[in-house]
Amino acid sequence: MTFFPVGLSHYLCLSGVLFTIGVLVVILRRNLIVIFMGIELMLNAANLSIVAFSRHLEDMSGHVFVLLIMTVAAAEVAVGLAILIALFRTRRTINADEVSYLRW
């Protein structure tokens, strides 16, 4: 058994896996809160690869990107939760399949 030094490719693989899980959660799960979490996972996967690249390239600006993306994600999720509450008040459900008055 050997220990590998953890390098750029490991971070990228992890980030790729996280991103895929996020996408799958958004596509497959029906609970809107869980779907939000999937979206957050996608953004955080991107953050992880940005930090990894930033370290690999020895370019500090990557760190700043992550801060900004985190802030935007927070704003987005706050708005999302607010919409969710409004939706729940009119519909009494947060199941994505039941939210389907608008079609065709």
Binding site: P5, A74, A78
Partner: protein, 121 residues
């Protein structure tokens, strides 16, 4: 490379072994006197009134949302503070920029305050 990690492994094994053996030992040798009070969630004397799986008031969400926003915005003060000393030549502009940022946050705070969001009732 490998040898660096061996102490960590030993540490892990020790910790897991210690915790595991304590569990086993108390189970084997400890006295066992079951009582109703021991099964309640809080052993502080207050009877739990109800289950914890209630629907929370939506106000908690509101407060959580606002907290997330204002909390995350504070993150920008940190890199600014780190840079400020090194870039003192354009210090006035930086100070005004951060002041503006704080003012915008304050405007948001003022807005939610006046809108009565912070009143719990």
């Amino acid at each position: 490379m490998r040898s660096q990690y061996i102490p960590v492994l030993i540490q892990l094994a020790l910790a897991a072994g210690f915790a595991g053996s304590l569990l086993v030992l108390t189970h084997l040798f400890g006295p066992s006197r079951p009582a109703a009070a021991k099964l309640s969630p809080f052993e502080c004397g207050v009877d739990p009134v109800d289950q914890a799986h209630h629907r929370f008031s939506v106000k908690f969400y509101l407060v959580a949302m606002l907290f997330i926003l204002f909390d995350i915005e504070a993150i920008f003060f940190y890199p600014w503070a780190l840079i400020f000393k090194g870039a003192i030549s354009s210090g006035l502009f930086l100070l005004i920029e951060m002041g503006t940022f704080a003012l915008v946050l304050l405007a948001g705070f003022f807005y939610i305050w006046r809108k009565g969001v912070l009143e719990w009732a």
